[in-house]
Amino acid sequence: MKPLEAIRIAWEAILKNKVRSLLTMLGIIIGVAAVIIMVAISAGTEATIQDQITSLGSNLVFVQGAMTRGGPGQAPTGGLVYDDAAAIQDGVSGVKAVVVEQNSSETIKAGDVTLEDVEILGTTTGFPSVRDMDIAEGRYFTDQEIERKTKVAILGYDVAQELFGDASPIGEYIKVGNTQIAIIGVFKEKGLVGNTDFDSRIYMPISVVFQKFTPSMFARFMGDSVRMIYVEVEDGVNQDTVIAGIERLLVKRHDVTTDTEDFTITTQQDIISTRESTTAAFRSLLAWVAGVSLIVGGIGIMNIMLVSVTERTREIGIRQAVGATPADIRLQFLTEALMLSVVGGLIGTLVGISGAYIFGALSDMRTVIQASSILLAFGSAAAVGAFFGYYPANQAAQLDPIEALRYE
């Protein structure tokens, strides 16, 4: 029997039992679709992370204060202070820019609109360029305004929308806590980066935040404590060298040892690799689940093929009587099993691709369909068909023609 004839016979056999064939293929369809959709979802998540890498701005080193309480009778060390930023800028080579952040949370009012628990981010002039934020309207504050503690603010996009709608807020005043603040600008929409919503915050000179929102009695002795210092590394400079420089400087300034550091230094790469390893684990879990459903689908095919061989014993006998060799019979049933899984794989691919599209369109999650996942799923489906089809096909080939012809 020629392969082409085997394919034709298999196709006819499948068409003769449409409903059963479809049900048999269902396992494979679901398996293949699951692989494609799940890989699309995790690839989508990774792409989102990639975008965040770019939107975070490149070459950033994060220095965060880690409050230590100190022992009995010891003053608590304050973690990072504002002056550390200047010290890093001046004392560490390879630093392009330093940005400081201190935050608080206040109720803000504009006219009769009140927003509670709005994050107030005190920062410095380098912030927009380092964090890749663009001004939509108005302007950012200046070094002079930081120095003079001028009570001005730039609104995040969402805050501006909620307080003023489509009207321009420039030149308006809002009440932050008990302080009157003049609005001088609005940022463009930025969205969620990691867990930070850049649009639902307001931005002020860090000196204003120190004075009005995070006053500390220790500030006079130790300086104003800050939440985070961003250090932008110069292009072509090794990040690790800069990190080591910052560490040496801060250990000295804070009078701590490397074992009792009151700060932590992380890089963007650290954050990204943590997230990437999480998504990689997530993805391989999904792939395993989907793989198991493929195997279950294969067992379904084997099951039905065994039933089919029994049911068609007489047909096998007839074919043997007119000259079909064991190899011919094996080829026929193997082709049928393969075709069930390949057609199932095709349908599953279509379902998977459209499913991934629909899922991406209807949910917040982004999906990216991977060609490799289609090949993988399709290839596994065919392999599953061949593997689970061989046993029934061999059973059929081993039938004795006389017994087979007697079978009722």
Binding site: Q320, A324, D328, L405
Partner: protein
């Protein structure tokens, strides 16, 4: 002189082993010449089905030699036997044994599918030949009918067309009229006679003496051996033609 199609030498077939073994055939020596129409008869248990299976290369003798068309087929493996069945033997069964939900044409071309010979027909030529065969058995108008759309007699005629498609050296008919009413049965016998008259060698297994009387010789089996061979005094056209030529 005529060619010998079937020659068996001391064929035995033993089922089971040791004490419980049963000899279904116990030394069969039989010769059938080309162009003969032979009936094999016998009560149930006489071994006639077993003999038919061996003659049809569906099973193998336990001992002895079976020479089919000059080729010793006693020791062939399954695949080789299948090839011999395909090229040299056409089967007609009591239950027709057509593929269900498959057209008469596709049933007739079925043996072509398994013809591994080099001189294999193309699909078009095969279809054409199958149509000719269906024409020959009087079903030229029902090429695309499926078995369930045909009467018993018509189904059996499709089976005959299928048996002839690979130009076999002999046709083995197992109770070909067993499932048919007498009129259809008669039509089938007439068709077999027609084939016989055209030179086809036919070996027919039956339990019906009236059907057996249609043939030239009746081989009667009893307890696994040939009991008696009756010459029915029927015309043997091919042999005579050959004699005249000689």
């Amino acid at each position: 002189m005529s060619a010998t199609i079937i020659e068996t030498v001391d064929i035995t077939k033993i089922y089971g082993m040791g004490d419980i073994s049963v000899a279904a055939l116990n030394g069969i020596n039989l010769k059938i010449e080309a162009g003969e129409f032979v009936a094999i008869m016998g009560p149930s248990g006489s071994g006639k089905s077993t003999l038919m299976h061996i003659l049809g290369c569906l099973s193998q003798p336990t001992s002895g030699q079976y020479i089919l068309d000059g080729e010793d087929v006693s020791h062939l493996d399954k695949a080789q036997l299948a090839a011999v069945r395909n090229r040299k033997i056409g089967f007609i069964f009591q239950a027709y044994n057509l593929l269900a939900r498959t057209s008469a044409l596709r049933n007739v071309t079925l043996p072509l599918l398994y013809n591994h010979a080099d001189a294999k027909l193309s699909v078009e030529d095969g279809d054409q030949k199958a149509r000719a065969m269906l024409e020959l058995v009087g079903l030229g108008e029902r090429v695309n009918h499926q078995p369930h759309e045909l009467s018993g007699g018509q189904q059996q005629r499709v089976a005959i067309a299928r048996a002839l498609i690979n130009d076999p050296v002999m046709v083995i008919a197992d109770e070909p009229t067993g499932n048919l009413d007498s009129r259809s049965g008669e039509e089938i016998m007439n068709l077999l006679h027609k084939l016989h008259s055209q030179g086809t060698t036919i070996v027919m297994v039956t339990h019906d003496p009236k059907i057996a009387a249609h043939t030239q010789r009746t081989v009667i089996l009893k307890d696994g051996v040939i009991d008696v061979i009756n010459h029915n005094g029927n015309h043997h056209p091919t042999l005579e033609v050959q004699h005249e030529a000689a």
